[in-house]
């Protein structure tokens, strides 16, 4: 049973975004952040129903293999007919229709890469298993993800025109309405009428779209807003303009108006913000009131003219009003979650380098086609004579070869750096050096580095496991220091990161703790009385034991100068079953050496 588009309650922003997409395919897609059970897939299906009858609707499942995404040789048919028969992949099958991906953030890394290239080229290129094919693949992408389960890869998000952030908590009345509508199914005539009406509206708007006008100043306001929000790349500008045009077309207007621009900012630019514009806004307001400050940089061609500034400000203000829970929840700025992380690369035994083909059972393994055929080839004449089967290839069970892979998953180094207290700045600099050095030395091993810093009330994941030196540097550059020492929280965050890495098939995890070991902020919110040292120590011991039980390696680098140390760091190392290294003035190179496997 499905609800029609009009019947779906809530998710208004998402619905609006989908309508824009239906009107203007140049927007490429809609990414909707929504928690489990919020009716994402109902919405996607209802959306497809708005498009002309016969429009393909293809689902891209999270576990889709490269073969099924790209397409390839249809083994069964090929063997049966003795000619190569090609099976089109999911991307190609969605051509001219809707591709629905539930769990954009959970897709396999390779599937994402193929999705990206289909989005930018409109075709799928298959160069595998002896095939060389180009299949058309222009589709509208409707992607959803639950932000709790990790980020969507940004390269992918960047190519999706409209991004709908997490909706605010649905109100009581709306919830009741959801239930009521669901109970009231099958649909009443109203809903059907509404669907017909929406279809007509979309068709009208599509026709009308090429003639919609956008003024230079409006375009400039969008570009300027993108700049203020620190939007990376130049693709977003194009999407923003297209979104504004689509909105105007949908409303049956000849020209773009301010509301269209606001919507474009909200759905295109704001979700891509890497900077908080609010910090700049007061400054600018000040500039307006002080007359001589107007001509700050008269020669600067980028300096907005006053009228421009107001339009841009208007857009920013309107947009920031409905900022969800702060900029950090936005996908492009979301480098600093306290938990979570991409499970994106889930899949294991079938990755890595294809080493050799061996005879084996094809169930659950990848068939190595060529070796199979080669194994079968010499026997053909004999078998034909035996069985009289004509020109088909006779492949038997004993011919079948399966692929063996060697996984080079490498090690994940989780750096947990104490950013509290006065030593912090120096410590962070050296930790940064060590991280960067490890990354640079370690490509061959495919190692990754994650980064957790702790200070104040709780630990922060600065960098999800990554191989990118650039991201590591950037993450470290923005870290504030000083305050309390929430060591327990840091250990917990590291443990979570390790768990997630394990789920992705990274078996080796090494924890590198740079601290004096003196945790003074407990995990649980402080009750009436401040927690005793003993309580905190007990907590630490508990988590450390957990980590040890998981078989996670640990190195504790004690950064406290000797005469102040009371052996806390050494004790922590013992609990973790790890190595203890005393490096009060640790230099990057020393840390990297201490951490490297012997």
């Amino acid at each position: 049973m499905t609800l029609s588009f009009a019947e779906i309650v809530g998710m208004d922003v998402a619905k609006q975004a989908l309508l824009l997409l239906a009107v203007n395919p140049a927007l490429a897609g809609v990414a909707i952040a929504a928690p489990v059970g919020s009716g994402k897939s109902t919405l996607a299906r209802a959306f497809a129903a708005l498009l002309p009858a016969g429009t393909p609707f293809v689902e891209l499942p999270v576990g889709a293999t490269e073969d099924s995404v790209l397409g390839g040789l249809d083994l069964e048919a090929t063997l049966a007919t003795g000619r190569r028969v090609i099976a089109r992949g999911l991307l190609a099958r969605a051509h001219g229709g809707v591709l629905y991906a539930d769990g954009l953030n959970l897709l396999d890394e390779r599937a994402i890469a193929h999705l990206i290239s289909a989005l930018s080229d409109g075709v799928v290129r298959v160069e595998r298993d002896g095939l060389s094919e180009v299949h058309p693949a222009r589709f509208l992408l409707v992607g959803t993800y639950d932000p709790v389960e990790g980020e969507v890869r940004r390269g992918l998000l960047d190519r999706i025109g409209l991004i709908v952030p997490v909706p605010p908590q649905t109100g009581e009345r709306e919830r009741a309405e959801v239930v009521r509508r669901n109970l009231a199914h099958p649909p009443n005539g109203d809903a059907e009428d509404e669907t017909t009406m929406l279809r007509a509206m979309i068709a009208d708007a599509r026709e009308h779209l090429p003639t919609v006008h956008i003024a230079e100043e409006q375009m400039q306001a969008l570009v300027q807003t993108a700049l203020s929000l620190g939007v990376e790349g130049n693709r977003a500008d194009v999407f923003a303009v297209q979104a504004a045009l689509a909105k105007a077309a949908l409303d049956g207007r000849e020209a773009v108006d301010d509301d269209d621009l606001k919507l474009a900012v909200r759905l295109v630019l704001l979700p891509r913000a890497t900077r908080v514009p609010a910090q700049e806004a007061p400054e600018r307001r000040e500039r307006e009131t002080t007359p001589h400050a107007q001509g700050d940089q008269p020669g600067d061609p980028n300096a907005p003219n006053p009228a421009q500034a107001t339009l841009e400000e208007l857009l920013l203000e309107a947009a920031t009003v409905d900022l969800p829970a702060g900029l950090l929840d936005l996908p492009f700025a979301g480098k600093r979650r306290s938990h979570g992380g991409s499970r994106g690369a889930a899949l294991s035994s079938r990755r890595g380098r294809f080493v050799r083909a061996v005879a084996g059972d094809p169930r659950g393994q990848r068939i190595a086609l060529l070796p199979t055929l080669i194994a079968a080839a010499p026997w053909q004449k004999v078998r034909r004579a035996e069985r009289n089967v004509g020109a088909c290839l006779d492949v038997r069970r004993e011919d079948i070869r399966v692929k063996r892979f060697r996984d080079k998953a490498g090690t994940l180094y989780i750096f947990v750096v104490d950013a509290s207290g006065s030593m912090a700045i120096n410590r962070m600099r050296e930790a940064k050096g060590a991280v960067v050095r490890l990354l640079q030395d370690a490509y061959v091993h495919r190692d990754q580095v994650g980064l957790i810093a702790f200070r104040g009330q709780q630990a922060q994941v600065l960098l999800e496991p990554s191989q990118s030196v650039e991201r590591a540097k950037r993450a470290l550059d923005v870290l504030p220091t000083g305050g309390g020492t929430p060591l327990a929280s840091a250990l917990l965050a590291a443990w979570r990161m390790a768990q997630q890495a394990r789920a992705r098939g990274i078996a080796q995890v090494t924890l590198v703790l740079m601290t004096d070991g003196r945790g003074n902020v407990p995990l649980r919110a402080a009750p009436a009385a401040p927690p005793s040292r003993a309580e905190i120590q007990a907590e630490l011991q508990q988590i450390a034991t957990c980590i040890r039980a998981e078989g996670i390696q640990a190195v504790v680098i004690d950064t406290q100068v000797n005469y102040l140390s009371q052996g806390e760091a050494a004790r922590l190392a013992a609990w973790l079953g790890g190595r203890y290294v005393y490096l009060p003035n640790a230099k990057a190179a020393q840390i990297a050496m201490a951490v490297a496997p012997r």
Binding site: R83, R110, G130, G155, E232, L439
Partner: protein, 361 residues
């Protein structure tokens, strides 16, 4: 007598032939990103420069530029239907077509898509022949198709390591050797390797970076006027690609002519001793290992002079190509915060300063 190798029926068959692809955005209509465009053009003028690696943010037009390049390249002559685009073949070559007729084709720009398997890259046994006739026959792969042209890999950092190793070996030697599944083939595979990637997706192995002649870095354009121009052009292109192409055809044609002229000229461009000396000093000062740095510098400077219609490379040519030619060859220092390109520029100014002083004596 082995039958000549032709491409597989799957591709000749009209029904399965690829659809008319979306036309490429014209190269000359790309706004900004001069370094990237220059690096690509220099490689067209002198393929010995050794390719280019383009690193930059998402959405900055990396793939657009590489794909657009195909349309401004001059045509080359080959024996009609030769699987390796060869102009001459020896008698008795098993892969050569039976005739010696020539045809003119656009310089091949071959896309190496992610997920390409090694057998398709290097070439492998023809499955259909194996299936229907039970014989082993070689079917050329992407490397064959890229001979005398360009091989483009988007998102190099996501490519399997072993495939990268294969590509680098072939790019360095100019020959593809296939020894697998009982076939043994060696064929020419000279191509300019063009890679692109986003530094956020993971850093490249230094050994890999070294093998590219030039390394262009691009960033988001922050100039409002330029950004608006991008939006305008993109919108016009999306609305009516053919009209847009027609409008840019004069510029495209002019660039094509300029490239042809430069290709003819480049072999005769003179490299004065003082410029060469300066290139060597620059590399010494930056501590660049080996001589690949100087060589690339010299070739790129000559190509630039040829592109601008001059018969002599100058210090200014050197200055303009120094950053992309050297930025990926510097020793790595994890704590160094200055951008590698900056460091090259600083060293360049120093060297040029010394040059000016010694010249005045």
């Amino acid at each position: 007598m082995p039958k000549p190798i032709v491409t597989s029926p799957a591709r000749q068959n009209g029904k399965l032939a690829p659809p008319a692809p979306m036309p490429n955005y014209p190269f000359t209509a790309i706004v900004g990103q001069e370094e990237m465009k220059l690096c690509l053009l220099l490689n067209v003028i002198d393929p010995r420069i050794g390719g280019v690696m383009i690193m930059g943010h998402r959405g900055t037009g990396k793939s657009t530029a590489v794909r657009a390049l195909a349309d401004v390249l001059p045509k080359i002559s080959r024996i009609a239907g030769d699987p390796f685009n060869r102009e001459v073949v020896e008698e008795g070559d098993p892969f050569a077509p039976p005739h010696r007729k020539h045809e003119r084709i656009p310089v091949p720009v071959v896309d190496l898509p992610l997920g390409a398997t090694e057998d398709r890259v290097c070439g492998t046994i023809d499955i259909e022949a194996a299936l229907t006739q039970g014989v082993k026959r070689f079917e050329p792969g992407l490397l064959a198709r890229a001979n005398r042209g360009f091989l483009y890999i988007d998102e190099v950092n996501l490519l399997d390591d072993h495939l990268v190793d294969v590509l680098l070996d072939v790019a360095a030697s100019g020959w593809n050797v296939v020894e697998r599944e009982g076939i043994s083939v060696r064929h020419p595979a000279r191509f300019v390797l063009v890679g692109s990637g986003n530094p956020e997706e993971g850093e490249l192995r230094p050994q890999l970076l070294d093998r590219f002649g030039l390394h262009a870095r691009i960033t988001t354009i922050t100039d409002v006027a330029q950004r608006m121009e991008i939006v305008r052009r993109r919108r016009a292109f999306d609305a009516d690609p053919l009209a847009f192409l027609a409008a840019w055809e004069p510029q495209q044609r002019a660039l094509r002519r300029r490239i042809v002229a430069a290709q003819k000229r480049v072999a005769h461009v003179e490299m004065p001793d003082d410029v060469l000396m300066c290139a060597a000093r620059l590399c010494m000062q930056l501590g660049v290992d080996g001589h690949r740095g100087e060589l690339t510098l010299a070739r790129a400077a000559c190509a630039l002079a040829a592109f601008e219609g001059r018969g002599r490379a100058t210090l200014d040519d050197l200055r303009r190509v120094a950053v992309p030619a050297l930025r990926h060859r510097l020793r790595r220092d994890p704590l160094e915060t200055t951008d590698a390109g900056e460091r090259v520029l600083q060293a360049m100014e120093k060297t040029l300063g010394a040059e000016a002083r010694s010249g005045s004596l």
